[in-house]
């Protein structure tokens, strides 16, 4: 900080006459963003460029020997390795299952909890509590609760006469289980964001619509939902990216099993890079992941922009 100050004053005394106001502002601005930019270059852009390069090599983490192989890793992933498509499918299933469930639950809870009533604080607290809980703790506990016959979830279901499946041992149910437990863990954050947005909507809008005889649903559809659009976009992007990078939850709940039913991209990259030592292949996968997330975000943003017009 002291450096920034002296830099700036010396710049001022030295060359002040020559500097236009605009130029000085630009220099100051770059000083303000310099820590962010430096960190960005060092820990983000540099590594990202490196990933591109790594992805063109065959590189063993343990022997530390690298050979340039061109696009072989990409070809392997896309056309040779059946696991890749399976993993990609899992990642999409996870995202497609998680994002709508999370967002609709978050919105429903926010609508119920945005206005004060007796008990509102209690419920807001309850639904936000898993967010502040460590993901590791969450996964550890749920792994217990979701055991076959002895698990608490199935014992509760048995009370209402439902024979629950062996959650974490059936590929499809395991996917359902990791999605639902993840939603319970994270929905509180989106709920709070929606509550904040709802509270920012002036009451007059709703009152005016009500005067015109609009039903609750119409008010929601015509007034509230459009006004929530910017929040919805942000929540969507954050939740979607979050669902693609889910690692700890999978690592601890299922380890990618059973039958690779919950093996998602982020976990697969870790496994390839740090368990099988294929740094090159893992980097190619990472690039593919980057492109997917980028494309999805850009699509969503352009759609939204058109929508707004």
């Amino acid at each position: 900080m002291a450096d920034t100050l002296t830099d700036k004053t010396s710049a001022r005394t030295w060359r002040a006459p020559r500097l236009t106001l605009r130029r000085r502002e630009a220099i100051e601005a770059w000083l303000f963003v310099s820590p962010t930019v430096a960190g960005f270059l060092l820990f983000f852009l540099g590594p990202l460029v490196a990933v591109v390069y790594f992805s063109l090599t065959e590189w063993n983490l343990l022997t530390q020997e690298a050979t340039f192989v061109g696009v072989k890793n990409y070809v392997d992933a896309l056309s040779q390795n059946p696991d890749f498509w399976h993993v990609l499918r899992n990642s999409f299933v996870f995202a497609i299952g998680l994002v709508p469930l999370n967002m609709s639950l978050a919105l429903t809870l926010a609508l119920a909890l945005s206005r004060p009533f007796r008990g509102v604080v209690f419920f807001r607290t309850v639904f936000f509590a898993p967010v502040v809980t460590s993901a590791v703790a969450w996964a550890i506990v749920w792994r217990f609760l979701l055991q076959g016959e002895g698990g608490a979830v199935n014992q509760l279901l048995a009370i209402v006469g439902i024979g629950g499946p062996n959650w974490l041992r059936e590929p499809d149910w395991a996917m359902v289980a990791v999605i639902v437990t993840r939603v319970i863990k994270m929905v509180g954050l989106n709920m709070i964001l929606y509550i904040a947005a709802l509270q920012a909507i002036p009451r007059d809008y709703e009152a005016a619509a009500r005067l015109e005889g609009a039903s609750n649903w119409q008010i929601f559809r015509m007034v509230i939902w459009p006004l929530l659009a910017p929040t919805t976009l942000v929540i969507f992007v954050i939740t979607m990216i979050g669902s693609f990078k889910v690692f700890d939850h999978i690592y601890l709940m299922t380890g990618g099993g059973p039958e690779n039913g919950t093996l998602v991209l982020a976990f697969y990259i870790y496994e390839q890079g740090f368990k099988f030592f294929n740094v090159g292949y893992a980097s190619a996968l990472a690039m593919i992941m980057f492109v997917i997330v980028l494309v999805l975000t850009v699509i969503q943003m352009t759609l939204r922009r058109k929508d707004m017009r």
Partner: protein, 415 residues
């Protein structure tokens, strides 16, 4: 090497001088996966006795929990922060040896005074040697044994496995029979796979012993053995026990042997340290024999020195000290030895404080006749490729032959 440098330079915008971790010149860092007090006390005693010849050398034992051991070790090696020496499990050995990160201990051991390298049983060294090169010295060559709950066997009115073994009737058929009877008469599980993890992290430990008893193998000479008739028969029997007899703890359930929920399990004798607190009468017996006769299965762990350590010569000397006759005899109270002289001595069978000598005799016997668990340079990949196919096997309606064909299809390209 050069390539790597370039890449690093590319990824590093600021060039920072690499600092090597400050290491005391005379301290050896030794990674182990035990945190047990008794184990560590013994290890420290051995380190202490090294001071007789190397007064300035201390050895620091660093515990890395077993579940993440190999992974963390990899990070330390790849991260440029290797320990000087460490324990290594048999399934990791070929991978690490092939990657050239293990030091050849052969010259040091053969020259060490009074070491008598030939005293080590050849089969026990198989995994750790390549021609003249020695990449590790096994400190634990521990056969898998049947642990049984005598109280439950009495309750069901059955002869226990040790008695059955004595009368030559302890085979795969009687194994299935007693497990079923236990389930029927006591309501407890007949058998639990090793540590209850036979469907997840201990697939090999669950499948290997019966397959060998039937005369099969999981792989050999680059060929998959899971789809051979012997293996199919063996796995079919396990499958029947899980889903027809319901005598083996099924996937997703808990039936902990050590807390009395299962009448039998399979484990190594180091696990006996858990028994005194178990609260029931117990014993150990050999694995049931099969159509191919007795075929004990052995799990191994060895001491290795890392090639990139800065004091590898000194570390190698410590290995020579730690695995000399005297210290191997000392370690035999916990870890079954691979030195013939110790194995055949009275000291070994009577050294174990928890297991009576006549049961220990079965352990020595198994070490002599047994074969080490299969391993492979690509073990991590093979296990990962197997796991989903084996998951498919453990379903009530699975076709065993088909599932095992699937296992072979998955691992064959890697073998």
């Amino acid at each position: 090497m050069n390539l790597r440098r370039k890449i690093l330079a590319a990824s590093t915008i600021l060039s920072l001088a690499a600092m090597s971790a400050p290491v005391l010149a005379e301290e050896l860092r030794f990674t182990v996966w035990t945190g047990g007090e008794a184990h560590l006390r013994m290890l420290n005693e051995i380190a202490e006795s090294f001071k007789v010849t190397h007064p300035d050398v201390t050895v620091r034992f660093e515990t890395i929990p077993a579940a993440d051991y190999t992974q963390k070790l990899t990070f330390q090696l790849a991260g440029g922060n290797p320990p000087d020496l460490g324990w290594m499990m048999e399934d990791a050995a070929p991978t690490f040896a092939a990657a050239g990160v293990l030091m050849d201990l052969g010259p040091t051991l053969r020259e060490a005074e009074g070491y008598d390298f030939a005293d080590y049983s050849q089969p026990a060294l198989g995994l750790w040697t390549d021609g003249e090169a020695v990449y590790g010295v096994p400190f634990s060559t521990s056969p898998f044994m049947i642990f049984y709950n005598k109280t439950l066997f009495d309750e069901a009115g059955l002869e226990d496995p040790l008695q059955l073994a004595a009368s030559g009737k302890w085979n795969m058929d009687t194994f299935q029979e007693v497990a079923r009877t236990i389930k029927e008469k006591t309501g407890k599980w007949g058998f639990e796979f090793k540590d209850g993890q036979g469907y997840e992290s201990r697939i090999m430990h669950a499948l290997m012993p019966p397959i060998r008893a039937y005369g099969g193998d999981v792989w050999a000479n680059g060929e998959c053995g899971f789809d051979k008739p012997e293996a199919v028969q063996a796995v079919q029997q396990l499958h029947d026990m899980v889903f027809k007899d319901k005598s083996i703890v099924p996937p997703g359930e808990q039936g902990d042997y050590f807390s009395g929920s299962s009448a039998m399990t399979m484990n190594q004798i180091s696990r006996a340290s858990k028994m005194p607190e178990a609260g029931f009468e117990w014993g150990i017996a050999p694995l049931p024999s099969g159509p191919a006769g007795e075929s004990p299965v052995i799990g191994q762990a060895a001491i290795v020195v890392f090639e990139r350590g800065e004091q590898k010569e000194l570390a190698a000397e410590f290995v020579a000290h730690m695995t000399n006759k005297e210290n191997v005899a000392k370690m035999a109270q916990f870890f079954p030895p691979a030195r013939k002289s110790v194995l055949e001595s009275e000291a070994f069978t009577s050294a174990n404080a928890i297991i009576p000598p006549e049961q220990m005799a079965h352990v020595s016997d198994a070490i002599e006749k047994g074969k080490v668990l299969p391993s492979h340079e690509k073990s991590p990949q093979i296990l990962a490729a197997m796991a989903p196919r084996v998951d498919a096997l453990w379903k009530a309606d699975a076709d065993v032959k088909q599932a095992l064909d699937g296992v072979c299809a998955a691992i064959e390209p890697l073998l």
